[in-house]
Amino acid sequence: MSDVKTPSKLEKVLASGHQAVTSECGPPRGSDAGEIRNKAEMIRDHVDAVNITDNQTSVTRLCSLASCIHLKSMGIEPVLQMVVRDRNRIALQSDILGAASFDICNILCLSGDHQAFGDNAQGQNVFDIDSMQLIQTVRRMRDEGRFLGGDEIHRPPRMFVGAAANPFADPFEIRVPRLAKKVAAGAEFIQTQCIYNLEKFEQWMAQARDRGLHEKVAILAGVTPLKSAGMAKYMKNRVPGMDVPDEVVKRMSGVAKEKQAQEGIDICVETIQRLKEVEGVRGFHVMAIEWEQKVPEIVERSGLHPRPELD
């Protein structure tokens, strides 16, 4: 196995040459940890690691860190998602240490949706550093064992550092330069926005390969099964930075309502099967939003099960 820098299982799976599978769970809007535990339980045998979202869409939820600790206690490997919207550099570094104290060893560095979309639209935001600088911050803490302020960290965090990439947002001409920037900042894995426009994604991957980025960072292709034609239309028209081609909407609308969910799963499986063959795609990030019970079927039918057992 090539050299790994952290105890992360996700890093090991990727280093051993397997295509990795991650998924994500959203914490509950209350303090019942059972909800997050149940979701994670449904997918534990079908993924290498589980992202825990950080107040996604700016709606207040049980925190990502506590949820990650619950998963860790169940023997499931969490990926701590951390947005820079709500915390300044003191709080971010402090939470990274908190996570490291529980040996949480994956982090995904994000900007976060603007709070205007959430349940506290009148709240202040922070954006002390940006997602790119959060990547740099974690790498500095890990590799140099130093805080941003320069002081030494006793027992530095050992985290495999990830970032998001959206191949579909505008302006398209800087989407690959932006990926290059995240790699330069220190990102070791990438989870992409949900892919429905395969041609555009493949074009993005080709440009990434031209610059050799696929060899410097493990790109996990993001997929989300559509539950209904309505969801397809909503994602197409209402979700910023989402690219759902007309053919996909048409295909979902073309089947009877009670069969649309199955059609959505089929599209998702077909997407994974096609992207598995794309050079530089090192795995998949399956985001089944409030539909975790479908992850096992998607992973199995895509030929990604069983997951590798590594020590």
Binding site: I129, M132, Q133, K181, G241
Partner: protein, 222 residues
């Protein structure tokens, strides 16, 4: 300039309703340009207030004056000899002027007549937009002359977030994505490669984060 907008007249009425003699003070600078607190707006608001109190059967004296500026002591001094005649001053200057007026006339209640919004430009008559947040350390040389602090909703320093769509910000179709503008401008200037330079983590101590700020210059002080 500092852009302000008039407060709703109901709010102004409520704030001045306890006084019988009110001096309405306009400012001839920014708030005149953005048509919120100049001589004209002072006249309009004074008429509205007079009419309101007359309809109520109240005899309230409302006088008008517009000063050259309310952020300079010398102009504020122009009303010193008459300030004692009034129960309150209603200032249509920005928040800076209102405060300097209150500091200057410590015993007189000074009330704001406008909401101060931002530092910005007149895009066209009736449309103003933000350009600067006074962070105290200008980054425009790096960003094609377009400010990511004031114009990006997340003040990102390293490029657009995933929500940038067709040149617009995820917040609103009426809001341009600052990073689209920056990329367009860098492209125009033949400097798109600059985009890939990682921006250093910003020192916010020169911004609001560092506490109330002062600029002290020995070369100018007398």
């Amino acid at each position: 300039m500092i852009v302000a907008k008039p407060k709703p007249v109901e709010e102004v009425i409520e704030s001045v309703s306890g006084f019988d003699r009110i001096l309405l003070v306009g400012c001839n600078e920014c708030v005149t340009v953005c048509e919120a607190g100049g001589r004209k707006e002072v006249g309009v608001l004074a008429s509205a207030l007079r009419m309101h109190f007359m309809n109520q059967g109240r005899n309230v004296q409302i006088d008008e004056v517009t000063l050259e500026r309310q952020c300079d002591r010398e102009y504020l001094e122009e009303i010193r000899n008459r300030i004692d005649q009034y129960g309150a001053v209603l200032s249509l200057a920005c928040g800076v002027g209102v405060q300097f007026m209150a500091e200057t006339y410590f015993q007189t209640p000074v009330l704001p007549g406008v909401d101060t919004c931002f530092m910005g430009v007149t895009e066209e008559r009736g449309l103003w937009s933000e350009r600067c947040q006074g962070c105290g350390q200008c980054v425009l040389a790096r960003t094609g002359g377009i400010c990511p602090v004031s114009r990006c909703a997340k003040r990102l320093f390293n490029g657009p977030c995933g929500g940038s769509t067709r040149g617009k910000c995820e917040l609103s179709k009426d809001l341009e994505c600052a990073w689209q503008l920056i990329i367009d401008r860098l492209t125009e200037l033949g400097r798109l490669d600059d985009y890939e330079e990682l921006a250093p983590i910003k020192d916010w101590s020169t911004e609001r984060a560092g506490g109330p700020r002062r600029v002290e210059r020995e070369d100018v002080r007398q």
